[in-house]
């Protein structure tokens, strides 16, 4: 995650590149080649080796990643199916997770799914407005000289290993949050999400703590992508707005925001993807519990990724391991859906093409 925008663009052009390459192969005339190249092609019908090699490499990379993802999906599926067959509970609606006795495995993902989605959604809710503020500040308000180093500091946050965030959340942030959490439950406890949860608040291993840490972790991703998008607002639009007498706020509202909205949402979805898959920080922070998730922020539990990480070192039977892999498969699909949604949102706004 050094520079997410740069990373995004090759992916976009890579997609179209494969299409172009494919259509160019049968009939060269249909391919949208600029006129100068067409003229060159008429003079010398053979393709230069550099072209061929580069096209091969680019196509190869594109195919490689698709095959790789397909292979991951296939692996998950192959390992999960035998265990799903041995499952004595409903995989999608059960809240149990007991895989120790392979003769009588009962596991379902409902609680994992809910804890994963709720903790990530709350993290997104916290991170989105802050990231928007930072991105707008960096592109519109901050003096150029300050904006660059500031942006690097934000990017640096993305380079902090998640185990550091986890330990920080458990040892430093958690105890600080305890009084806040206690006052929230006593004052707003009648609202289900602030109700007394199924773990002790004093230990701070709650979804509340986890979400705040996750929010910090996804902040740099959302900020970096949004900043790049806002930075690309056509200067003519901005200048036009200023010429019409718009204030800074009006410039942001009438030019920067409409232009960058889709990019911002897409950035948030990228962040959500990261939050859904976060593992180490959550295994450290979240308290496990035998009770079911009760829709409170002060519940404990486990996410897909943390559940797998907690059990992985002691995998010694492919059947019980398969149960966890089945959970991993659901996470894989969930992340896929989130990313597909992000793509769809971006694709709906043709100004990026």
């Amino acid at each position: 995650m050094k520079d997410p925008v740069v990373a995004e663009h090759p992916a976009d052009t890579g997609d179209t590149g494969v299409e172009r390459g494919a259509s160019a192969a049968p009939s060269a005339s249909e391919a949208p080649i600029p006129p100068t190249q067409e003229a060159a092609a008429a003079k010398a019908p053979h393709v230069r080796p550099g072209d061929r090699i580069f096209r091969g490499l680019a196509t190869g990379s594109g195919i490689f990643i698709v095959v790789l993802i397909g292979a991951i999906g296939l692996f998950l599926l192959l390992r999960a199916v035998p265990s799903l067959g041995l499952n004595n509970a409903n995989f999608l609606t059960s809240r149990e997770w007991s895989t120790g006795d392979v003769g009588n495995m009962r596991f379902g993902i409902l609680d994992l799914l809910l804890v994963t989605v709720v903790s990530s959604a709350v993290a997104l809710l916290i991170a989105m407005p802050i990231a928007l503020g930072i991105a707008l500040f960096l592109t519109q308000y901050a003096p150029r000289r300050l904006a660059r180093p500031f942006a690097y500091v934000i990017d640096l946050l993305a380079a902090v290993p998640s185990i550091i965030f986890g330990l920080w959340g458990l040892l430093v942030l958690g105890p600080q949050l305890t009084p806040i959490a206690e006052s929230l439950t006593s004052a707003l406890g009648f609202i289900p999400i602030f109700a007394q949860g199924n773990v002790s608040i004093a230990l701070s291993g709650t979804i509340f703590t986890a979400s705040i840490v996750l929010a910090v972790m996804i902040l740099p991703i959302i900020t970096a992508v949004s900043r790049e998008v806002f930075d690309r607002t056509p200067v003519t639009h901005v200048e036009g707005a200023i010429a019409l007498g718009a204030t800074k706020w009006e410039v942001v509202r009438t030019t920067v925001w409409p232009f960058g909205k889709a990019g911002y949402v897409s950035a948030s979805m990228l962040g959500l993807g990261r939050a859904l898959g976060e593992t180490i920080a959550l295994t450290i922070i979240l308290s496990a519990t035998a009770k079911t998730f009760g829709w409170s922020l002060f519940d404990g539990g486990a996410t897909f990724a943390s559940k797998i990480a907690l059990a992985a070192p002691e995998f010694n039977d492919p059947r019980s391991a398969g149960a966890y892999i089945a959970a991993g498969l659901v996470l894989f699909l969930l992340t896929f859906l989130v990313n597909a949604a992000a793509r769809a949102i971006v694709a709906g706004h043709k100004e990026y093409e």
Binding site: G100, P175, L310, E314, N316
Partner: protein
Amino acid sequence: MKIQRHSAVFGLVAAGALLLSACGSDQNSAQGGASAGATSSVDVTCGGKQNLNAEGSSAQKTAIDTFVQVYQQRCAGQNVAYNPSGSGSGVKNFTGGQVDFGGSDSPLSAEKGEVAAAAERCEGNPAWNLPLVFGPVAISYKLEGVTDLTLTGELAAKIFNGGVKKWNDEAVKAANPSASLPDKDITVVYRSDESGTTDNFQKYLTAASNGAWTQEAGKAFKGGVGEGKEKSAGVAQAVAGVDGAVTYVEWSFAQDNNLSVAKIDNGSGAVELTPETVGKAIDGAKIKGEGNDLVLDLDSIYGSTEAGVYPLVLATYEIVCSKGYDAETAQAVKAFLTVAATDGQAGLTDAGYAPLPKAFQEKLLTAVKAIA
């Protein structure tokens, strides 16, 4: 411009990494100095394969570290790399032939085909389970005003499965007539990751609770109450932070976090956790393996009613080939295990383990000598 800034960032990160790694190596050398005082008492034929690989149970990681330090003092230039990736991985990679010996919290299981797989790895010879490292598990708690608490197996089972919810419950009072117990909820903290410690603790509760523990054993905690924290460090740290919390954790973690350790009454009076009481438990252990395969009958430890025995002990095995190593490897494995079972024992108490009692040590050495 951009590149320069990036390199500045990398520089910072690299400097940070250096700093951190510097801290790490400091600690190691300090430990090495401490155990240098041990005197050599046994003949060891050094040599053979220079770098042994081993993998498995994380519960014995610290013990293996002290063994390796002593091994290197006795046999210059030799080393053992132990990867504490868990018993499951240890057994898998031993039977797969990736490591020279495995570490495991439970002996090879015939049901899961581990015995057969290990025999295949040892070229048709049986693998032996050698219980080398014994780690007492402490029922650790934090309760203001109470530093002397006695639990029976039955009471422990009731606390950990929710039968007893308050510190001033009649059952706790009955076992501790002189303590002033507060009216506080018991917060049970358990291991959220799957672990041999949990498995052994639940085996203990099954054996010693007179039927109060109906949940059986397993690597995942089955008590159904309380909340889980990751690894020993996580549970110990959690208990240290909350008044009224109780957990089961390796002794060294209880000591490091200044937790109170409950005495265990197995029917013959309250027994404190000390190296001596644990040694007595190991001495009383019956072996159910054949010959040099020293598989322990854990019920003989957990269910012991002898006076002065602290029964809650986690036995971890080294899994080795009886035969089938190449000559180089066999020599190094034997040298390492010999050092571990003799000179290596000196530093164990500080690391939170129990040293082997004399009689048991001799059984182990006989087995180690027989490896070929």
